[in-house]
Subunit: 122 residues, 3 copies
Amino acid sequence: MANIQRFHVGPRLSEAAVHNGTIYLAGQVPDDTSLDIRGQTAQVLAMVDRLLAEAGSDKSHILMTQIFLRDITDIDAMNEVWDAWIPQGHTPPRATVQAAMAKVAYKIEIVVTAAVATVATT
Amino acid sequence: MANIQRFHVGPRLSEAAVHNGTIYLAGQVPDDTSLDIRGQTAQVLAMVDRLLAEAGSDKSHILMTQIFLRDITDIDAMNEVWDAWIPQGHTPPRATVQAAMAKVAYKIEIVVTAAVATVATT
Amino acid sequence: MANIQRFHVGPRLSEAAVHNGTIYLAGQVPDDTSLDIRGQTAQVLAMVDRLLAEAGSDKSHILMTQIFLRDITDIDAMNEVWDAWIPQGHTPPRATVQAAMAKVAYKIEIVVTAAVATVATT
């Protein structure tokens, strides 16, 4: 058996999987969809922070991030929040495209792949 | 040379690549596009099963999956088929967005990253 | 600290990250958006070549590629350029979907994950 650690394992999906020093997060969407793009982005990034912490990492260890926006013209407002959040010197590769998501009220969904910060002895 | 194993290598793409214990599958699309979303989903998931088996793994070792739906309102019907397929306790991180695909008749495309189940001695 | 090497580190994103023998590239978009789909594709693939070289790899070591087209009907013209570029016997898994990108003038964005070609002694 490969050594896979899963977090928040639900009946349909889990929120994170760790394998071979790499963390894969599920696409994160906002809880409060009444928020504007800035608010939804902040909420999603806070979720990423929490999940990375649980998996033994943090936002300075992101390897790749994919951002889906329901309306690509939200990109500047999203970037304001992103730029204030991402640690300088550790910015990750990123791709941002427009796509509709599971709920119409979702303005953003972020997918993160990261490195485990400290190698645990298994 | 890095040790990369490829499967079903065609002139444009291959269906799977294995490197460092991680399996990357090409986006899987249905063969029979006359099927409805349930039928197309079942067909794509069967393809994922076959490719993971060839690469030395199975659906309990998925690290991340990205699902593209031509029509995001198909998500509930897709989820019915997914929920019956995915092994409980091993559900993977997932992201689902709407996108048009290479052929208009494709209702779904699934991208899977997985762990090799058994570490081969190289 | 996990050993992550980043390339072209800007205030918002970096163009590449290397971790554990795997290279993650940012979504590559064309510089000259006045070009048609063939020209934009060629430009993006040349960018991929340059970044992979910097990160110690090349196009024969691609593990997965995701291609976003603003107009999915450009896929045949894009494939012409792709087919001439990708080395036979080393074609990677690939997924191609339609999506709008950061700028309206972008017709294509390509995301590449690759293996480091030579394992450096760290």
